[in-house]
């Protein structure tokens, strides 16, 4: 249960119950859909990108607590960032949840209190111990990247 409480932290349960920036975004100029066929997670990400900056970001859909909380957290963190900053944040998140980020250990992330991004992302680091759930955590981010890239393709994680 220790690992599970690590995975289902209260912040995650809160974002799952009360997702931020949830619902379509009027006047969005980019959007993409994502699908995780394994558990049926469906997500849409809507963006307003202005002057190379993510002016606003919303999402909607349904899925497990990990996918919903990750999407909700993501929207909070992306607002106001440049495209380059947003992509860098995705890379960082991806490295953390897949365990590929050397030196970005969970403890290292959380202890560096100057790094607010790291602190916020770290609530999802528990996913690393659950390989089949990594795609739940990354679905929203992949969908966001597709919206940014205007691929027009539904993102499928499996």
């Amino acid at each position: 249960m220790t690992d599970l409480r690590e995975l289902y932290q209260e912040v995650i349960l809160d974002h799952n119950r009360n997702p931020r920036n949830f619902g379509p975004l009027d006047d969005h100029n980019r959007a993409a859909a994502g699908h995780n066929p394994l558990c049926g997670d469906q997500i849409s990400v809507y963006l307003i990108v202005e002057d190379g900056r993510v002016a606003d970001v919303h999402f909607d859909g349904n899925g497990c607590a990990i996918s919903m909380a990750s999407a909700s957290l993501m929207t909070e963190m992306l607002k106001g960032r440049t495209e380059a900053e947003a992509r860098a944040l995705f890379d960082r998140f991806h490295a953390m949840v897949t365990g590929e980020g050397e030196g970005e250990s969970e403890a290292g992330l959380a202890e560096d209190t100057d790094d607010e991004d790291a602190m916020r992302l770290a609530v999802l680091s528990g996913v690393r111990e659950f390989p089949v759930r990594v795609k739940c955590a990354t679905l929203a981010w992949h969908t966001f990247a597709a919206a940014l890239d205007k691929t027009g393709q539904t993102v499928v994680t499996e």
Binding site: L4, L7, Y8, L38, C39, D41, G63, A65, I66, R133
Partner: protein, 417 residues
Amino acid sequence: MSGAAAIDRAAGFDAERARADFPILHRPVRGKPLTFLDSAASAQKPQAVIDAVRHCYEAEYANVHRGVYWLSERATEAFEGAREKVRAFLNAADSREIVFVRGATEAINLVASSVGEALLGAGDEVLITHMEHHSNIVPWQMLRDRKGIALKVAPIDEDGALIMEDFRRLIGPRTKLIAVTHVANALGSVVPVAEICRLGRDRGIPVLIDGCQAVPHMAVDVQALGCDFYVFSGHKLYGPTGIGALYGRADMLERLPPYQGGGDMILSVSFEETVYAGLPHKFEAGTPNIAGAVGLGAAIDYLGGLGLDAIAAHESDLMAYGMARLAAVPGLRPIGTAPGKTGVLSFVMEGVHPHDIGTILDGEGIAIRVGHHCAQPVMARFGVPATARASLGLYNRRADIDALIDGLVKVREMFDR
């Protein structure tokens, strides 16, 4: 003996004793005793099956139907012996009516291909139900795209039972094949296949039954049913993966063209002409899954030793116990409540996605399936993206249900913090 075990035994079947036959059930998972409740996805294997496969490779293996030497004779005998066991298991009239396939998926694709070729044309209709596994939907859609047939879908009610009135109404002059599941994999609903076979027979419409979720739980007699095709997968019947069977009535199979071409399915080949072999070899191109068939035969022997009726009574008791205990879990909604349902307990939980249920239960050593169960139209019918599904095997006991309920209470606690 604990109270729960005494009750398990009272059903006339000793689940504790049967458990001893399944080595994997005794390994710990995540530091906990394993509670395996996913037999509808794939059942665990008794020692007898493991030994039979091992013996095949260690002592009696060579290619079948080819060698004139001793080992090939032994292997052929074991392989054809397994066919005879499948014949007896389904009470088919003749072992020539049993075609070995990779599983039910291949069997249905075979029928779709061969029946599609010989008996179906543009505008003809294939009738299925709303609760089919994708494997009894997609092959017909592929045939629709290839030949212009139409797919008709009979609806199910709120309990997940087939609405027979509508089913009957959907049988029309263009209906050329009926393909239905015997037991719905996501719901456990038992389809009245005997009645459907009667309807088909009266109108000269062939009937295919997908028996994957039925054969582990009840005795099946294809002659009594009067079906034209009956298919199942070995791995859900406690046998190996990669082996299954297609029963086809001989006069029906004789009318059909082969599915795949190759070795072992011919009498003679020249570049001008090929003469196909007789049944069942016409449908078995290439070297078959020899050890898989032998293992399947061993699984059938094993089930015969326990008695399918005793297994059915035991599982029926467990099902009633499980449904009653699930009903007492706050915020839990069962999906699939048809009377007489068998094998599966599907449900959703208020405010918790099935995938999260699955992960938390896994932490307790409890294996269930979560997701759409390859039956997305069923999920759509009940307005859920996915369900959690606990499914029963002969080795499950009330203690497994109790562990599941305790686990669900932990799920609630985790999410209600």
